[in-house]
Amino acid sequence: MAAAAPLLGIALAVALLLASRGLDNVSAPGQLGPAFWPRLVLAGLAVACLAKAVEAGRRPVRVSRPAAPLARGRLTAAIALIVLYVLVTPLLGFALATAAFIAVFLALCGTRAPLVLAVNAVAGTVALLYLFVKLVYLPLPKGEGSFELFTLALYRALGIF
């Protein structure tokens, strides 16, 4: 995969160069249009990728830290968990989603004690709500439907609203 990366880069640069057609339609006569700079940069990207591909052909691609099979599983789980966290936050609201994420992510990182998981999830979320909602007035997602009602009730109970 690492060896194929420069070729993917060249393909991407060419695709974006093609996508830049038509950008210059608005430019004033005799002036450099809005496509000039991106084309220059894309050409640079293509040349750099080509140089990297040639370099990779001459000497093997240096991958410094090969992943162990177990680590791959953890990596997939960690990425999936982060994606799930971002995905469900608008629905569940920041408070619920974050508390759940903290507990599960901590478990994934190797924390097993239920008390540690619970304390970090609850106290951590409450502290973040106070800091960012109460003090910084950041409108973190409240969730939808009944989850929004829950978040609002929680904010009132905590004295944030």
Partner: protein, 497 residues
């Protein structure tokens, strides 16, 4: 000269008034904390305190903002050194070296160097501002976007020093970053570029999402998978950060060079702290006798970039106070504070309101001295977080990244982008694609485009303007030399082998 000393004396008397002094301290604390939180930049903090200044007099208002400005440009270095999360783009070069020093068990040393070099850079630039602002401003007036473009190219050229194993890989990374920087609505014609009907891409990709994702999330994933290089046993984290006064002596030249670059880039080019930190770092590696140690915890690199960041603050203020032209976004907000209070910054300010001008100078000097103590306390507070077990720390770093990205525009799209760049950062580490050039490309690419196109419009598309103006030609020649020199060196080494 006597007039300046007299003015400064009066300025210090004013700055030591309880309310004014309190404003400097408050501003520093707000600035350091805001700078340290990813997603909340120093600029955000200055904008946030602006409404509070409406009810104050102009002097306490400006001292508050100066405190936020000075503290904010330093604050991001603390989290950069401790957690590999630079609070602001300007703290990125400090993070490259500081975090490596931290991993080697030299946390105190790195934090101490950052505090002292920040304070030194800021102090010298404040003194420079007090004594040499008017003549310096005259020189700065002769500069145009042509010179600004040359300075940014110089910053981009320092990519040649960032490719540890492969120059080609560094350039792939740099151009990829510049492509990301070109996404969104173009400023000159209002044309959407590479948006593909995705609404949130219309406003472009905020570099903070790239910064947080690549550095913080990528690092967390690296640690979870267990492929991150193990940290050294770190006795430092138990103790308080030390102030390495004596340690600074062997680093005096990087310190002086970094400060000079900060003043020059901030004052002459008005390019701000971010450009000056990249330029200073790149220059330092070119000059260094051990360039191969950069990126592995080089104290000189840290000191040079950190002193240039704070060194640029005085330089940027020269533009504002003497010309009435804000040299950076932060000084533009400060100009707003001046105007709100009915004062027009510019040449007449020195004759009409000298007392206020010298109070500002004194406030800047005082703020940089106070920053040693407050920076020390802040570093101490953040350093205690190092005792938190890694699983807890990693989990909360992800949550902070979520909040930091969301805070940019209150939009979940920025959170998605951050997480996407986090995964990209993880794979870039594994494939040995250097991350710093990509970050440089995203930050400096749009600046380069803006200055280049403005220069072209102003000079009838005459490309020779970049080499016919002496300052621009000199800077560009040095930039080209920076790019060519490592290639020549490698070719010579290969021939000798």
């Amino acid at each position: 000269m006597g007039e300046i000393f007299g003015g400064l004396g009066l300025g210090f008397l004013n700055a030591f008034q309880p309310l004014n002094f309190l404003m400097i301290v408050t501003g520093l604390v707000i600035g350091i904390v805001a700078g340290a939180l990813p997603g909340i930049t120093m600029l955000n903090a200055i904008v946030l305190v602006l409404p509070f200044t409406y009810l104050m007099g102009i002097v306490p208002a400006l001292l508050l903002m100066i405190g936020v400005y000075g503290g904010g440009v330093f604050g991001g270095s603390i989290t950069g050194i401790l957690f590999n999360i630079p609070g602001d783009p300007m703290n990125v070069p400090t993070t490259w070296e500081g975090y490596q020093l931290n991993r080697q068990g030299k946390t105190q040393y790195a934090l101490g160097l950052a505090i002292m070099s920040s304070a030194f850079g800021g102090l010298v630039s404040a003194l420079f501002l007090a004594f040499l602002a008017p003549p310096f401003a005259k020189i700065a007036l002769g500069f145009s976007t042509v010179e600004f473009f040359a300075v940014v190219v110089f910053g981009l050229a320092s990519v040649s020093v960032l490719g540890q194993h492969s120059m080609a890989a560094a350039f792939v990374s740099l151009f990829a970053g510049m492509v990301l920087g070109a996404v969104g609505t173009e400023a000159q014609y209002g044309v959407e570029r590479f948006v593909f009907d995705v609404p949130f891409l219309k406003t472009g990709i905020d570099f903070v999402t790239v910064l947080i994702g690549l550095f913080a999330i990528g690092e967390v994933l690296d640690q979870i998978v267990g492929t991150a290089e193990p940290a050294a046993e770190n006795p430092d984290t138990r103790a308080v950060p030390r102030l390495p006064l004596l340690d600074l002596w062997p680093l005096r030249w990087p310190l002086i060079r970094g400060t000079a670059v900060g003043i020059a880039v901030g004052g002459l080019a008005g390019a701000g702290a971010t450009v000056s930190s990249f330029v200073s770092y790149g220059l330092e590696k070119q000059i260094s006798k051990e360039p191969e140690m950069f990126g592995k915890g080089h104290a000189g690199g840290l000191v040079a970039s950190e002193s240039s960041v704070n060194g640029s603050t005085g330089g940027a203020m020269i533009h504002l106070l003497t010309l009435g032209i804000p040299g950076s976004a932060a000084t533009a907000v400060m100009m707003g504070a001046f105007l709100i209070h009915g004062i027009q910054p510019g040449p007449l300010l020195f004759t009409k309101q000298p007392e206020q001008v010298y109070t500002i100078f004194a406030g800047m000097i005082l703020a940089n001295l106070l920053m040693i103590a407050l920076g020390f306390l802040a570093a101490l507070s953040f350093a205690t977080l190092m005792k938190v077990p890694a699983p807890i720390l990693n989990t909360f770093i992800v949550v902070f990244c979520f909040i930091g990205a969301f805070a940019l525009r209150n939009d979940m799209a920025d959170v998605w982008l951050t997480m996407l760049f986090g995964v990209a950062g993880f794979f870039m580490r594994r494939w040995d694609l250097p991350i710093p050039p990509l970050v440089m490309g995203v930050i400096l690419g749009p600046m380069a485009e803006q200055y280049f196109l403005t220069s072209m419009v102003a000079n009838q598309n005459d490309l020779t303007i970049f080499v016919t103006r002496p300052v621009s030609a000199t800077i560009l020649a040095i930039a080209v030399a920076m790019l060519v020199w490592p290639v020549l060196k490698r070719m010579r080494a290969r021939r000798n082998a």
